[in-house]
Symmetry: C2
Subunit: 346 residues, 2 copies
DNA sequence: ATTGATAACGCAAACGTTTTCGTGTTGAAA
DNA sequence: TTTCAACACGAAAACGTTTGCGTTATCAAT
């Protein structure tokens, strides 16, 4: 086993100084051609590569981006990571992933362990628990220590930094408008509790669309799902809640769900209740993921361009990292949504 | 903005030496109680945290695990990462992710940039292109440099290291046995090309099960899907291939697919051809992911315990990292599969 | 008064780089 | 022969830690 070789070892072996080796490998013209060739050949032979850690310490930058997401087994988030990876790789950055599992404590721990020199900046989406507690001191502290942060998807005004979001209001509004144009009169929405911004905003879009089309909104048609129903072993509770919605409110002919899971669950429940999709009920979801694509019938969805979100977030972060000046003007980038029509709408 | 504080700054501020600060913060009894309290209080006030990079350089270990996967937007791989993250966090390790996108070159680049001191060890699954080229020099080199490596899922004998796999042969065999016990007489398999080990092994299990049950195998019933059909915009080609399989071989009453995508595609095509599932054709897939759970009908699958694979891989790696001695005996851990019965089988 | 122990701290090296600033050697010009 | 560039290289500091060892000062014991 031949361990990695260092400048010092090369220097000793070739009987020159460490600085000579360093310069020779950088092709400095301080060093004679003879010596350079000798050193370069030797380095190549032993496959010398500079030690990243030493470089990081010296340069005070790690060329590494920290990404903290609530959940990794999730089409949207993994697609965002893919976007981040793309851009990062292109600029010579590595990506280190932390998963908060929707827990505030995990988020804090992840941030704290990464913020001590391991990374140059953060890209993150807040955990549900953090949103609920409305405690952002950990983020504001790392930001005030000069660590650049880019927030995406689940963002919050109280944190001042670059942000990447989608136009949730408009995405939902367009979806509802599609349903209306397809003849829906009684449209329900399956959303999250209000503290999750995307749920709140999509509900807002739903209400606006109804309002603009002079359809009276009805609280009975608004189902705010308890988070806890989202875990894999609580699907029955989600189904029950949806079933209650459909049974208690006969005549529902359109459903907007704020994520894939809610949407396919709605379709499953509707089918169970004997409703034809899209003939009797039309369904639209959010996130054009694998579920939407392979559901039966195929699910019409509001595509979020998750990959683009990741790319934009990485762009913003890297731009801030590479331009030293501390611009105190932060950018919020809005990524457009796109309706993908499939068979769950007419 | 208050930047992170260092030992040196504390030392200067309190008019002591750096080493005194360091020792005081470690509660060394070389330092008087007075000084310790003063220093500790000051450090706490300024929220001192040791710089990870400096520690890494000094200790020659980074407490970071490098994970390289072929694809991140993928239930199986993201679930494996979740398992790795769990264990890593528990042992104070960070996880840095590289995505090869099934490309040999990307795999090499990822490994090389991470191997230069950024990480203590690798966990990885080989890219398809690497498997095809059968070129493993990059891995064998990093291993020979003393970098611990754990391979999972797509493993290869030519690389000598710890490995974590599932019992593909047996998993497939049990699936086929289930189909046979449910009355299937003419069972097809939708698998990958042979160079992908999991496809090859599952085919092997299929053949063994047929053999043991004295059913003659038939090459016409073995569909080896071209990789390129797997991308999101090539789904029609996959469907066409499956359709050809079903149309050219009437009487197929059972299908084993080596992944979720192939399985739901098979169901979609079968339904399109007017076949009832599971009455006329029963289908079993691999990977108990979100597709299997939410397909209609629910897909019976061979669950791979992806999270357990990740946990085991992380365990193996960390064990090797923490026990310094260079044991030259490598372990191959086999994670058991589990049949999850749903409505796509009788 | 001398010795020796002990307490409390600082020095310096080490991890692997890069880079600034010498320094010694050569050769040519004066 | 002296002087001065130019050339080729080395020493050392710096990044932020940790740690073995050396160095004081104090005080008790002889």
């Amino acid at each position: 086993m031949k361990r990695k070789i260092t400048l010092k070892q090369i220097a000793r072996e070739l009987d020159v100084s460490v600085s000579t080796v360093s310069k020779a490998l950088k092709d400095s013209d301080e060093i004679s051609d003879d010596t350079k060739q000798k050193i370069q050949a030797f380095a190549k032979l032993y496959n010398y590569k500079p030690n990243n850690i030493a470089l990081s310490l010296k340069n005070r930058k790690t060329k590494t981006i920290g990404v903290i997401i609530p959940e990794i087994v999730h089409y949207f988030f993994s697609k965002v990571i893919q976007g981040i990876e793309n851009i990062a790789l292109k600029h010579g950055y590595n990506v280190i992933i932390g998963v908060s599992n929707e827990s505030f404590d995990n988020e804090v721990i992840n941030i704290e362990t990464l913020a001590n020199g391991s990374i140059d900046g953060f890209i993150l989406s807040l955990s549900k628990e953090t949103l609920q507690k409305q405690d952002y001191h950990h983020l504001n502290e790392t930001i005030s220590q000069g660590m650049p942060v880019v927030l995406f998807d689940r963002v919050i005004d109280a944190i001042v930094c670059d942000k990447v979001i989608i136009d949730d209001i408009n995405g939902a509004k367009e979806a509802i408008e599609l349903l209306i144009s397809k003849g829906c009169k009684r449209i329900a929405i399956i959303t999250t509790e209000d503290y999750i911004s995307v749920g709140r905003l999509r509900l807002e879009g739903y209400l606006r669309a109804l309002n603009e089309n002079e359809i009276e909104s009805n609280d009975d048609l608004i189902l705010k799902v308890d988070d806890r129903y989202e875990s894999e072993d609580r699907l029955d509770l989600l189904d029950t809640a949806i079933e209650r919605l459909l049974v208690n409110n006969p005549g529902i002919d359109g459903v907007l769900a704020v994520n894939e899971l809610y949407a396919v669950s709605a379709m499953r429940v509707a089918r169970k209740l004997g409703c034809k999709i899209p003939d009797e009920i039309q369904v639209i979801g959010f996130t054009n993921g694998v579920l939407s694509r392979h559901a039966t019938p195929g699910l019409t969805t509001v595509a979020q361009n998750a990959q683009k979100i990741g790319e934009k977030a990485a762009d913003l972060l890297i731009k801030r990292l590479e331009t030293e000046q501390e611009e105190e003007s932060y950018e919020t980038s809005v990524i457009d949504t796109r309706l993908v029509i499939r068979e769950s709408t007419k």
